[in-house]
Amino acid sequence: MTDVQLFVGLGLLLWLLGLHAVMTHRHTIHRLIAINVSGSGVFLVMVSLASRGEGVDPVMQALVVTGLVVAVCATAFALRLGSARQQSHDEAESPS
């Protein structure tokens, strides 16, 4: 087993662990953490594949940088959306 294979395997494991957790949890924060762990797994696969040859593949790494930005923005939006939903839920429960 080479180190690339180790980290590709680790990435796939993270991806699936996240997937499993997303399906078995209901709380928004739990689910978003799971999605992010899953995403880190995918990025890990990509970065490991990028470091296969002599030197590293800049294209794959650049893709991961882009993916990371997308992920953090979407996560931020989702978390704020979750907070807003909870607030409207609370207001509906106790009109005061």
Binding site: I29, G53, P58, L81
Partner: protein
Amino acid sequence: MTADGFFDALLAMLIVSLACGALYSRSLYRAVVFFIALGLSLALVWARLSAPDLALAEAAIGAGLTGVLLLSALKHQAAEPLRPMRPSFQLLMAVLTGVTFLLVLTTVWSMPAGMAQVGQLALNSVNDSGVEHPITAVLLNFRAWDTLLELLVVVLALLGVRQLKLPNDRLPVAWPLLLAWSKLLAPLSLLLGVYLLWRGADAPGGAFQAGALIGSGLLMLKLVGLAPTTPWSHWGIRLLVLLGSFTFLLVAMATDVFGAGWLTYPPGWNKALILLIEVAATASIALSLAMLAGSDHRELNQ
């Protein structure tokens, strides 16, 4: 087993246990702390896999931004009940994912080795790109169209948050120690951000890492109440948020109308144009991320 292999195995073990902690802690707070720790450790993995750009980005995001975001969300959403799924369902899912893992792993095992074709091409063309660092060349020249769209992702996320009826945060008055500390940290993060941006042309770093870092500094100032308010209704704030996308789009259009084609930088201009875009993008990303994570209803919806 070699010493390196031993180190890798330990690192993998660390990551797996952190991930399990983040995913399966019954307490949300604990899960969040685990997740922050996972971000820190992933930076080590990127470092190990010779991806220093990602180590920088992950350190800025995983440690700073996501942590603050999650802690803030925790404050607002702690009331939501956990309602775990039935154990039989969880078991079924575990078996399913386990089988999938084995299938996927055995398939991917046969992945051929060696550098990807496009990666090699990118490395060979770096000298014509205007910058020396290959990843910056990919992001701002070879695949600049992706990056333009990526800047729009940041704008869109902020726009999305702007539509929401957010709870208004009432943060406590910060302790004097914290105030003094923030006054030190914020300029430091600005300094470090500028340094990363400046280095991006020929070494790991660049607009996004710099933006995330400066954004975190700004966010911290917001949290302790030192930052000036950044209301969306002010045209200057909007301009700063949109500056990166505007600059990039105008460059693209100008190169199409006056030059050789959409995003084809004229020879001799490429370095200057890339620098211009990077500076504008850094400013936009920093402000957008800080507002995305830390602005409340009053600031966004006046």
